[in-house]
């Protein structure tokens, strides 16, 4: 069966590009049955990866704190207004 482990580390851009290419190949209708099953599964995994990346949108805003020499020491929540 198709190996979908590497999908979990793909960036959103890579994942959606590959998903698009799978859709194109399936639309062409020239993929043999067995391979079409495999790439369909991979397409599903890619879709899940994309959605996971899209869901993981966190709106966290920090500011860099620096020491006297201007070297970053850590982060602190940015308080605006």
């Amino acid at each position: 069966m198709a190996d979908t482990d590497d999908v979990k580390t793909l960036s959103f851009e890579r994942a959606i590009e590959e998903l698009e290419s799978i859709v194109r190949r399936l639309e062409d209708g020239k993929v043999p049955l067995e391979e079409s099953v495999a790439i369909y599964e991979r397409g599903e995994a890619l879709k899940r990866r994309c959605e996971e990346l899209l869901r993981a949108a966190e709106a966290r805003v920090d500011k860099i704190t620096t020491d006297a020499q201007g070297q970053p020491t850590g982060t602190a929540p940015l308080d605006m207004e």
Partner: protein
């Protein structure tokens, strides 16, 4: 002093006092002035760190100095030819009756001067290749962490964060900096460098993308982003960098060094992330298309299968045709065999018919022809070769004959010449010989005459006789004649024998002495003559 003062009613100063008074007056009156002029004769910073130059306009010139500490803090560094507004105080220099302005702040006078400065700097940095298109990096499609270098307060960061939240909320790290005024350029550059220096998996997440942002403002307000230190930091950033400084129409040098220039901070946020909702729709759409495609593919396969199954013919139908072909073939087999053997037989007959002595004969004849032809060629060649040799021989013989003739001719000539020479020589020798003979003959004749004249016969002819012993030897002296010795007397007209008188004695001398007298009586005259002649003979 008071006395003189009283006399002239005018205070008297020492030079130092006067100079000090002037200094106080000038410094009091012009303790804080702003003066506009063009920098000229710029010298510095010196080793001391101070800068000296003059400020001038159309009508006047004033000496100016910037102390080291002030120069170090200056946002605009003084530059030859730059029109500036200098703020400072006037002071005098008592040592040489001079005054000057000590500048505490310097700003370019007007936009024109700043633009000129910026253009100059832009050309210089462009020449270094800092703005090359080849240096530009692509922005990540969906950055995880976005680093923002800007003021932590104000509209800019708010705009960015709002737009990011609208499109795709991300983790944002703000590096607070001053975006204008003194030290702001250094802070911005340090922030860019600082983000780049973060380790990839340290406690502070390293951004995938940087945004350097500032709101709109005057050229002077935005000037920090024209500073070399900021431009260089942006160009050197390994993290893709979007510059969003000022409004759309504002141009700063960091725009050229950045990987992407955004007209506004909001636009920078739009460039930084895609719209999350759109991506959701896109992913869902793709997934649905994928499913539909697959379903359609399955449906199509099913249809094809059904059609194929329907088209599959019955086994008996499949076998009927091959069966018929087999039958036909097996029926045709014996006939084909016969036909084949016939064909073979015919070929054999043809071949054997052709295999006769005629073939050999024809080959023999052919070989004979070839032999004849070769023999013909051989003899022709021989003849030709002989002919060639003969021709060569004839040519050589002709040459030989000619050469021989010429040689003979030459020899004949030579011989003729030699003969002629010989004849001449023999003629000469004959003549010479005759002459020599005659000479010799004359000499002989002469000698003969001389001989005749000198010969003893001449003496004999005058009547003397020569006495000889019986053996014919001349006896010149009487002493040599022994008595009784047989003598021979020679006269001119002949010889006659005689015997010396006296007895033959053993004594040698005496008988000889007596021999003459003995002989004398026999032939006295001849004896006398003989004695005479012997006397004369002794004369010889």
């Amino acid at each position: 002093m008071a006395k003189i003062a009283a006399l002239t009613n005018t205070a008297e100063f020492s030079v130092t006092e006067l100079s000090a008074a002037l200094k106080r007056t000038v410094e009091d009156a012009y303790g804080h002035v702003r003066v506009r002029g063009e920098i000229t004769g710029f010298r510095g910073p010196h080793a001391s760190g101070h800068c000296y130059f003059s400020l001038k306009d159309e009508g006047a010139k004033i000496e100016a100095v910037i102390w080291k500490g002030v120069h170090g803090r200056m946002r605009f560094k003084p530059q030859e030819g730059l029109e500036v507004i200098a703020t400072g105080k006037l002071t005098t220099y008592p040592g040489s009756s001079k005054y000057q302005i000590v500048i505490e702040a310097l700003e370019p006078a007007g936009v024109g001067a700043l633009m000129a400065l910026m253009e100059e700097r832009k050309a210089k940095l462009a020449a270094e290749g800092l703005f090359d298109a080849a240096r530009k990096q692509l922005l990540p499609y969906l950055p995880e962490v976005i680093g923002v270098v800007t003021s932590p307060t104000g509209a800019v960061i708010r705009d960015i964060l709002h737009r990011l939240a609208d499109r795709f909320p991300r983790r944002v790290l703000v590096w607070p900096v001053r975006v204008q005024g003194e030290g702001s350029a250094e802070q911005v550059a340090a922030a860019i460098d600082g983000f780049n220096a973060l380790p990839p998996d340290g406690p502070i997440p390293r951004p995938d993308l940087l945004i350097v942002a500032r709101g709109g403002g005057s050229l002077e307000d935005l000037w920090s982003f024209n500073e070399e230190i900021v431009v260089r930091a942006a160009a050197a950033s390994m993290i893709p960098l979007i510059a969003a400084v000022g409004h759309e129409t504002d141009v700063t040098l960091i725009d050229f060094a950045a990987d992407k220039r955004a007209p506004t901070p909001t636009a920078a946020a739009e460039m930084a992330v895609p719209v999350r909702a759109e991506l959701f729709v896109e992913v869902t759409g793709l997934s649905r298309r994928m499913m539909l495609c697959w379903q359609r593919g399955q449906e199509r396969r099913r249809t094809e299968l059904r059609a194929a199954a329907r088209a599959l013919p019955a086994a008996s139908d499949l076998l009927a045709l091959p069966r018929q072909r087999l039958d036909t073939a097996s029926a045709a087999l014996p006939r084909a065999l016969r036909a084949s053997s016939h064909a073979h037989q015919r070929r054999f007959a043809q071949a054997s018919a052709g295999l006769t002595l005629n073939v050999l004969r024809a080959q023999l004849a052919l070989a004979g022809h070839r032999l004849d032809a070769a023999g013909e060629r051989l003899s022709r060649c021989g003849r030709t070769a002989l002919q060639q040799r003969r021709e060569r021989f004839d040519a050589l013989a002709a040459r030989l004959q000619t050469a021989t003739l010429a040689n003979l001719q030459a020899r004949r000539h030579h011989l003729a010449r030699e003969q002629e020479r010989l004849q001449r020589l023999s003629e000469r020798s004959r003549r010479a010989f005759t002459v020599a003979i005659q000479q010799q003959r004359a000499r002989i004749h002469h000698a003969g005459q001389l001989l005749g004249a000198l010969s003893y016969r001449g003496v004999l002819a005058r009547g003397f006789a020569l006495v000889r012993d019986e053996n014919g030897a001349a006896l010149p002296t009487a002493a040599s004649i022994a008595p009784g010795a047989r003598l021979m007397l020679e006269f001119a007209d002949g010889r006659i024998g005689a015997i010396a008188d006296g007895e033959p004695s053993a004594r040698g001398v005496q008988p000889q002495a007596m021999a003459e007298p003995q002989a004398k009586p026999v032939r006295s005259a001849p004896a006398k003559r003989a004695a005479k002649s012997s006397d004369q003979g002794s004369l010889f």
